[in-house]
C-alpha cells in the first residue's frame, strides 16, 4: 500500500471518528431505545466517507486499516476489547471486497460496509458471547454488575430485539451507502473530470 493511501485513510478515519462521536451523542436522545440505534447514526453519516475512500484510493488494505485505526483509538480510550471487534470488522470487510477491481463497484463496497458496520454494531453481543454474563461482570466489575450484564444479555438474546437491532443497522448502513453514492457523484466524480482535462 502506498504511503499516500495510508495517510489519506488515516485522515479519513479522523473524519469518521469525529462524525461518529457527533452521531453517538444523538443516540442519547433515544433514551432506553438508544441500544437499538447505538452505531446506526454513525453508520448513516460515515457512508459518504467510506464510499469516497474506497472509490478514490482503490487499494487493498484500505478498509482493514480504516477499522484497525478505529480499534486502536478505542483501545487508547479505554475499551481494549473493541480493538478485536474492529479488526475482525475490517478483515471481513476486506475479504468481502475480494478483488481490487471491486473498489470501483458501489454494490460490492456497499456489501462490505454493511457487514463491517453490522459487526461493529453487534460489539456488545459479541463481547457477551466471548465473556459470558459472569465473565463480563468479573472482567469489568465497575462497568457491569451481574444484574446489569444479565439485563444486557436479555436484550441481546431476545430474538425480537436482535431482529430490530439488525434491521435498523442494515437500513442505516444502506442509507449511508446511498448517501455516499449521492455525495460522491455530486462532488468527487466531478472533481475527477475537472482534474482530467489535461489527460
Amino acid at each position: 500500500m502506498k504511503i499516500r493511501n495510508i495517510i489519506i485513510t488515516a485522515l479519513l478515519a479522523v473524519v469518521g471518528f469525529v462524525v461518529s462521536m457527533v452521531g453517538g451523542m444523538f443516540t442519547k436522545f433515544f433514551g432506553a431505545y438508544g441500544i437499538f440505534v447505538h452505531v446506526s447514526i454513525g453508520s448513516l453519516l460515515c457512508g459518504p466517507i467510506f464510499i469516497a475512500m474506497c472509490r478514490k484510493l482503490k487499494t487493498r488494505g484500505t478498509i482493514f486499516i480504516y477499522y484497525a485505526i478505529m480499534g486502536i483509538v478505542y483501545a487508547i480510550m479505554g475499551f481494549i476489547p473493541m480493538t478485536a471487534v474492529m479488526v475482525i470488522a475490517g478483515l471481513i470487510g476486506e475479504i468481502l471486497i475480494a478483488n481490487v477491481k471491486n473498489y470501483e463497484k458501489n454494490r460490492r463496497i456497499g456489501i462490505s460496509y454493511l457487514v463491517s458496520e453490522l459487526i461493529y454494531a453487534l460489539h456488545g453481543f459479541l463481547l457477551l458471547l466471548a465473556f459470558g454474563t459472569e465473565g463480563l461482570a468479573e472482567t469489568f466489575p465497575n462497568l457491569f454488575t451481574l444484574e446489569k450484564a444479565q439485563a444486557i444479555k436479555t436484550i441481546f438474546f431476545d430474538p425480537k430485539n436482535m431482529t430490530v437491532i439488525v434491521i435498523v443497522q442494515i437500513v442505516a448502513s444502506a442509507l449511508g451507502i446511498m448517501l455516499g453514492q449521492y455525495v460522491y457523484k455530486k462532488f468527487f466524480d466531478r472533481a475527477i473530470k475537472k482534474d482530467g482535462i489535461l489527460q
Binding site: 504511503i3 495517510i7 485513510t9 488515516a10 479522523v14 469516497a52 487508547i76 480510550m77 462497568l143 462532488f187
Partner: protein, 238 residues
C-alpha cells in the same frame, strides 16, 4: 538571529527538562485501562492524580479546560444522581457521564498523546515493533484530531457567514455543508503530506532513525514507578 540546526531544534523540543516519552504515556494508558476497571475511589483518585501530573508537564495549556469539564461532569452526575430518578433519557445521559468520569484519567492521557509531534509518535511506535504503515497511520490520526476539530469550527464559521445553519429539516444539505469539506480536506492534506514524507525518504527501505529522542529518562521512570507502586500498594491494602 541565532541559528539552530534541525538537530538542535529537535533536541530542544524533546530533551527539555521535563519531557515525558510517548512510550510512557502509552504504557500509562494501557495500565490505567485495566486498573480503572477494578479500582475503588482511592485508586481512581490516585490514577487521576498521576494523569493530571502528566498533563501539567506535557500540556499545561489544557489543564484549565479539562479541569472545568471534569468538574462539570462531576457536578452533573452528583446533582442528577441525588435529585432525580435516573431512567429514560436522563438515565442514559447519566450512564454516559458516569462512564466519562470513570475513564477520565485515560482521556487526559489521550489528550496528552495529541501534543506529541508526528515524528516522535512514529519513532515510538516503530520502537514498539508496530508495522511501519500502521505506525504512520496511528501517529497521523493523533496529530490531526485537534486539527480537524478546528477545521470543523472554521467550516461552521464559514457556513454562518453564508447564512447556512445545521438543520434537521434539511439533513442532506447540512451533511453536504459539513462533511464534504472535511473529506476534501483529508484528500488535500494527504497529498501534500505524502509528497513531503516521500521527499524525506519515508518509503526507503532501511533502518529508520529520528532526530526526536524518545528514549526513557529519569522522569519517565519516576512516573512509571509511582504508577506501579501506587497500584500495587492499593491493591495489596484492599
Amino acid at each position: 538571529m541565532e541559528y539552530y540546526s534541525n538537530r538542535t531544534i529537535a533536541n530542544k523540543c524533546s530533551e527539555r527538562a521535563f519531557f515525558i516519552s510517548p512510550f510512557t504515556t502509552l504504557l500509562l494508558i494501557f495500565i490505567n485501562t485495566f486498573a480503572l476497571l477494578c479500582s475503588d475511589f482511592v485508586l481512581y483518585c490516585y490514577l487521576l492524580g498521576i494523569s493530571t501530573v502528566v498533563l501539567l508537564i506535557m500540556k499545561k495549556e489544557s489543564f484549565l479546560r479539562l479541569s472545568l469539564i471534569f468538574i462539570g461532569i462531576f457536578a452533573f452526575t452528583y446533582y442528577v444522581g441525588k435529585n432525580f430518578d435516573p431512567s429514560g433519557l436522563l438515565g442514559s445521559i447519566l450512564t454516559m457521564m458516569l462512564m466519562a468520569l470513570k475513564l477520565y484519567p485515560i482521556w487526559i492521557l489521550a489528550s496528552v498523546m495529541t501534543s506529541y509531534s508526528s515524528s516522535a509518535l512514529i519513532n515510538t511506535l516503530r520502537r514498539m515493533k508496530l508495522p511501519n504503515n500502521l505506525a504512520i497511520a496511528v501517529s497521523i490520526f493523533f496529530r490531526f484530531i485537534p486539527e480537524y476539530m478546528n477545521f470543523l469550527k472554521e467550516i461552521n464559521e464559514g457556513a454562518k457567514v453564508r447564512g447556512l445553519r445545521p438543520s434537521l429539516k434539511r439533513p442532506v444539505k447540512t451533511l453536504e455543508t459539513y462533511l464534504v469539506p472535511l473529506i476534501f480536506k483529508a484528500f488535500q492534506t494527504g497529498d501534500t503530506m505524502a509528497a513531503s514524507l516521500i521527499t524525506k525518504g519515508i518509503e526507503y527501505r532501511c533502518e529508520k532513525t529520528s532526530y526526536r529522542n524518545v528514549s526513557l529518562k529519569t522522569i519517565d521512570f519516576v512516573i512509571l514507578a509511582l504508577e506501579f507502586v501506587g497500584i500495587a500498594v492499593m491493591l495489596w491494602i484492599r
